[in-house]
Amino acid sequence: MSAKFLEKDILLEIEDLQIQGYSEETWIDIIKGVNLTLHRGEVLGLIGESGAGKSTIGAAAMGYARDGTRISGGRIEFDGIELTTATESDKRSLRGSRIAYVAQSAAASFNPAHKIIDQHTEAPVQYRIQKRLEAQEDAMKLYEQLRLPNPNEIGFRYPHQVSGGQLQRAMTAMAMSCRPDLIIFDEPTTALDVTTQIEVLAAIRDIVDQYNTAAIYITHDLAVVAQMADTIKVLLKGEEVEQASTVEMLENPQEDYTKSLWAVRSFKRPQKARPKDGTEPIISVKNIDAAYTGGVKVLDDVSFDIYPGMTVAVVGESGSGKSTTARCITGLLPPMAGEIQFKGDTLPPKYTDRSKDQLRQAQMIYQMADTALNPKVQINEIIGRPAQFYSGLKGTALKQRVDELLDLIELEPSKYYYRYPPELSGGQKQRIGIARALAAEPEFIICDEVTSALDQLVAEGILKLLDRLQRDLGLAYMFITHDLATVRSIADEVVVMQNGKVVEQGPKDKMFTPPHHPYTDLLLSSVPEMDPNWLTTLLEERGVDNIGEKADV
């Protein structure tokens, strides 16, 4: 425990917390005895992979157990009030006024039918802390502190009229409305782009500092937690692994598990150069423009080449046209102008006009493995169908091919052959998605944010698998991502996109060394680093007032 916080200033104390969840007609332990002490003004970072119980502990800090879970043991003491035995009405009077919660998706947490400021003032008016007009003035002050544009006006908009990053800041302001003693941030920046993430992080850090609010910051991103937290607690499967102050934790992790988390970002593979012997690019995107029906142009003169056996990373913020480019290549969205060439031959713009062999060549792996695999179809059919469809395999030959593919993606064939997708974990599902793409025996695969929904350790496994498959089978990848750490580890070439245009492209080493295009520079410098002073330094460099707005260069 750092000496900065005094013993008498303890705000929240959780002792031997146990939470159970109901599944398959029995109660299963989710949280197996976690202790936690939080002082006034302290920010505690909770990290761990999904299923570690981070959010469950966050909710328990409010005395709340979600549907299907129950607090089965332990103590939760908030400022002298025992929450496990407190009545529902006592707990309700704490929530919102003294403990506030900021959810992952602000867009889903705001009521779309009410103006932002009306939702903001609801709590102070309800608890009779302020009159409505006072609360509105206070809201505007908070908006200003959180550096929202037009603080006097923005609150009178509806949630869909402001951007995601602004909404997340508005939500933080809302949590602040009653000046709570404790705020729980549940992955507040996970759904945001790196450039927007910085604004939100800086805003949250300032305001928490200013009002000496204690906070529990839940995330799976170590670099983010390093910026925000005074203390870090690492969780694994409902148990505490270790806890230490941020600096100590980063420099000197004790447990093996923590070390493995820290080591994830170290995976790198050697960069390949374009073939010099005049080989044709496998996919060549030539000056394509595209728009969704009747809308504005989302792609404007996009061109790039992908050579056999290479990985081209396409990066950019959401809405920059990365996925739309992929849709043009697969033929789901015929471009308005320009063409897609496959080994020098022009592909028909619509997928329905392409031949079986042309379809076979371009396979896709999707971001959300949950929606990419039919939950009611067995693994053997999911993987076997493309092989049967394209190569006409039947009977034992088909079964053999499926076994072979399962071996390729490192899943035991006998164990997974008859399973259904919902019975698999996230990483296993993504592997099945890869196997389905491989079953078509393509030379080119589009990977659409394949690792962004996965935990870091699992994501690293997937990246290693993709790398091995590339070496063994000579595949070319188009790797769509917004995560520059992934780009650093596996890309050969990088294409940077912004507002539907290619801003810059070239080999990775060149792209990561200055001088950059200003937008590339902004993207690169926005990626959080493990250094706890990274955010402070960055803000000093960029100047406090134009952190996010710089994105408009």
């Binding site: 109901y22 549907d67 299907g68 697969t330 033929g331 789901l332 997928y351 392409r354 079986k356 379809l359 371009a362 396979q363 896709m364 999707y366 959300m368 929606t371 990419a372 695999l373 039919n374 939950p375 009611k376 179809v377 059919e381 169908r385 493309p386 469809f389 394209y390 389905r436 078509a440």
Partner: protein, 354 residues
Amino acid sequence: MMFFVIGYYVFLLLASVVLSLFNQTKWFRMVFALFLVSIIVGIVGGAPALRAIAIFAALLATAAALSFAFKEFLILIVRPNLAKELRTAPLTASFGIFIIFTYAIAGTFAPWIAPYGQAEVIAGAFAPADANMLLGADQLGRDVFSRIIYGARNSVGLALISTLGAFILGALAGLLAAVKGGWFDQFMGRVADIIMSVPSLIFALLMLSIFGTKSWVIVLVVAIIYSPRVFRLTRAVAGNIVVMDYIEAAKLRGEGDWYLIRREILPNSTAPLIAEFGLEFVFVFLLIAGLSFLGLGIQPPTADWGSMVRENATLISFGDITPLIPAAAIALLTVSVNFVVDWMLWRSSGLKEK
């Protein structure tokens, strides 16, 4: 009589004491409330009222016991994974399954179960029940019990075929509309709107008076009337599925519409469709019974519950409950199907907690 009244109160009191001793708060509250209500009912209505309560409670208990035993029996004889599902079924659902089974058996083996033929005149008109005739005779002297058994075959069979027809028409159109989209979707939607805009009973009456009352006409007319509802549901359910990435993957693979419908969409939409099937079946059944009652459905002398109610309707003014028996058969089936459908909806809705 005195013994019955005393026994009645003593039983209730003892039961509530025992329940409270075993901490069964919910049941204790119910039994004790019944005891208190019985005191008032006993004063107002006397022994016959108490007797009615006792009989009703006994019937309810019998039905519950029957459902429970039937459920346990089913769990024993079916495959393990189906048995696991059945274990979650409430008593109402197993009661529903039991009734549906009974009707199915009665309908299938009608000629062997019924003592007389459905058109066989064996007694005088409106002859009372005796050893030969369980429920007496109807207005032409036919055995009512035999006609009810045959009615299960005719009415339920016709309703089942009509509902199947409505489902094949509606579900196919809905799935195709969802997969194809564009103008085909619009066109099918407008056709459905037109059919739905005509009041169903009037449409049926019109069609049946034009084309006659042959049973294939009834089946076709009812199937067309009910297909738009199935179409709408199927299209909505499939519409949510066709936007999934796995459908996109299958489309990009070059799969045809029929494969998409059969292998990718149908397995994911069966639960709401089966539940809808149960509901539609009930509506179709009532429509056919209504048509028969109006004289435009199944034609005499074929036994049918709807027309049986109409033919014997005059008896009700003499205080005879014979016309209510086929009506009760309709009601019992309707309620049973709904019990089963409720359970299926509950299973597929994901609202399993609480």
